[in-house]
C-alpha cells in the first residue's frame, strides 16, 4: 500500500475577484518509509498541497489518499495517521513547552501519564532540559521552537509526517541541528516523510526522491541523481532551470 497518493489534484482560490490556480492537476505517490521532497519557490503550491493532505483544505479536483484513506471522506482517520511541522512553530507562545505538548497529547487522545513520559524522552533527544520544559515558548530561540514543533509532531507517532519548510528562516547552525534531528527521529520512528522546501541542498541531502513544483504544476519527479542525469546538470539549481526554464531565485516572491 502506498503511504500517499496525490492524484490529479487541483486547488483554486478567488482573491478580490481574481482566480488563482494554486495547484494544477498534481499527481505523485510516496512509498512507505520514503522521504519525498517537494521543491519549489514561494508561491509554487507546496504549502497548499500540504494543507490538503492535512485535511485543512478540500481539493477542487482529484483525490488524496493517506495509507488508503481518502482525506475528504475519512478526515479523522487520516488525522490520526499524520502530523505536521510548518515554517512557523505555531504554539501558544505564553504557555510552556510542557503545557503545549500536553495539550497536543490530549487532543490526540494520549493518556496523561504516558504523554508526560514521552515528552521527557523526546525532550532529551532534542536537547531540552526538563527544567526548561516549564518555560514559556516565547522565551525559546526560533531554532529551539522548531525543535519543540518536531517533538510535538513525533509525540503523536505519525506514520506520515508532513514537514512544510521546517528550516526556513533558521540560522545555518540551527538549520543543521534541525535537519539532523529530523533524520534521527525519522530513522527511529520508521515514518514516511513529505518534505517541502525551497532549499535545494536540503532537498538533495534529505530526500530519496524529489518533485519539482513550478507555478502549481509538478514538472519533474525522480531521485536527485536521476533528475541531474535527465537535466545533464551538476547542481539542483541547474536541474530547476532545465525543467522550468527559469532561475529559481527569480521566482522567489514573498507569499
Amino acid at each position: 500500500m502506498k503511504a500517499l497518493i496525490v492524484d490529479g489534484v487541483s486547488k483554486y482560490f478567488r482573491t478580490r475577484g481574481k482566480l488563482i490556480e494554486a495547484v494544477k492537476k498534481v499527481s505523485f505517490e510516496i512509498e512507505k518509509g520514503e522521504i519525498f521532497g517537494l521543491l519549489g519557490p514561494n508561491g509554487s503550491g507546496k504549502s497548499t498541497i500540504v494543507r490538503m493532505i492535512s485535511t485543512l483544505l478540500i481539493p477542487d479536483e482529484g483525490r488524496i489518499e493517506v495509507f488508503g484513506y481518502d482525506v475528504v471522506r475519512y478526515p479523522k482517520k487520516v488525522q490520526s495517521m499524520i502530523n505536521r511541522v510548518s515554517v512557523e512553530a505555531s504554539f501558544f507562545k505564553k504557555l510552556s513547552a510542557m503545557e503545549n505538548l500536553l495539550f497536543t497529547a490530549g487532543i490526540y487522545g494520549i493518556p496523561l501519564n504516558a504523554a508526560r513520559e514521552k515528552i521527557k524522552m523526546i525532550s532529551r533527544k532534542i536537547g531540552l532540559s526538563e527544567s526548561r520544559l516549564n518555560d514559556p515558548l516565547e522565551e525559546f530561540s526560533r531554532g529551539m521552537q522548531q525543535k519543540v514543533a518536531i517533538a510535538r509532531a513525533f509525540l503523536t507517532s505519525p506514520i506520515l509526517l508532513l514537514l512544510d519548510e521546517p528550516t526556513t528562516g533558521l540560522d545555518p547552525r540551527a538549520k543543521r541541528e534541525v535537519q539532523d534531528l529530523i533524520l534521527q527521529v525519522i530513522k527511529e520512528h520508521d515514518a514516511t516523510v513529505l518534505l517541502t522546501t525551497h532549499d535545494m541542498t536540503e532537498a538533495e541531502t534529505l530526500c530519496d526522491r524529489i518533485g519539482i513544483l513550478h507555478r502549481g504544476k509538478l514538472v519533474a519527479i525522480g531521485s536527485p541523481k536521476e533528475l541531474k542525469e535527465k537535466a545533464n546538470a551538476y547542481t539542483m539549481e541547474e536541474v530547476f532551470m532545465f525543467f522550468t526554464g527559469e532561475m529559481f531565485e527569480d521566482l522567489e516572491v514573498v507569499e
Binding site: 486547488k11 494543507r51 503545557e99 500536553l102 487532543i107 490526540y108
Partner: protein
Amino acid sequence: MNLLRELRGALAFVKRNFDLSKRYWKWELVFFAYTVANSITMGFIGRAMRKFGADVDVNYLILYMLIGSIIWGYLSVLFEIVAETVAWERWEETIEYTFMAPISRVTHLISVCLYSVIYGVIRSGLILLITSLFFNLDLSNADFLSAFVILMVSSLSFIGLGIVGAILPLISPEKGVQVVHIFQALLLMFSGVYYEIDVLPNWMQTIARMSPATYALKGMRLAILEGRGVLELTDYYIPLLLIGSILLPIGIWMFQIMEKYAKKKGLLKRSG
C-alpha cells in the same frame, strides 16, 4: 467515536484554557478590575436615584442594578469565550494544528463551553463578593436554588448563541470578531440589563422577547429580589431551555457545515 479519547481531548481543551488564563493573568486582572468597577458604578447609580428626586426603594434598586451588571458580565463572558474560540486560535497561530487533530468538533466546542461556564461562575462569584463589600445587600428574600437553575439554563442558551457566533470568525477572519461584538452590544441594549423591557418602544420589545438574556435577567431578579421558587419561574426557564435546546445543536451543526466551507475556501489559516 472513542469516548475515552474524546474525554481526554475535552479535558485538554479545558486545561489549556485555564493555563492560558493563568499565563495571561495581567490581562485577566485588568478585565476583572474593569468589570468590578463597572458593577460598583451600577450599584451607586441605583443609590443616586433619590438625589434626582425619585421615590424608590434604594436597596431594591441597588440590587436590581447589580444583578443586571453581574449576570450580564457572566453571560457576555460565556458568549465571548465560545464565540471567539476560532478567533483566539487564529490570533495565537495554532488554528491549523487544532483543526487537524483527530478530535470531534462537538467535543472541541462543548469542552470550550464547559470551560466558559466554570470560568464564568468563578469570576462572577468573585465580583459579587467584592461588590457586596460596598453595599449593604439584603439577600434575605433570595431563593438561591431558583437563581442557580436560571443561571444554568441561561448558560445553555448563551452557549448556543456563542457557538452560532463562533461561525462568524470562522468564515470571515477579518470582520468576524467585530460582528460578534456588535451582536453582543445589541443584546445588551435589547435585553433589559439595567431596565425593564417595557420601557422600550414596542418594536424593540418584540426583539427583546427573542433574546435569552431578557428571560435570564428577569428570572434572576425575581429569584433574588422576590424569592420566587423554581416552580414559579417556569415562564422564564422554559423559554431559556427552548432557545438553548434549539441553538446548541443548530449551532454545532452550522459550525460543522461552515468548517467545510472554510476548508473549501482556504479560510482555516493563521492570518486573515
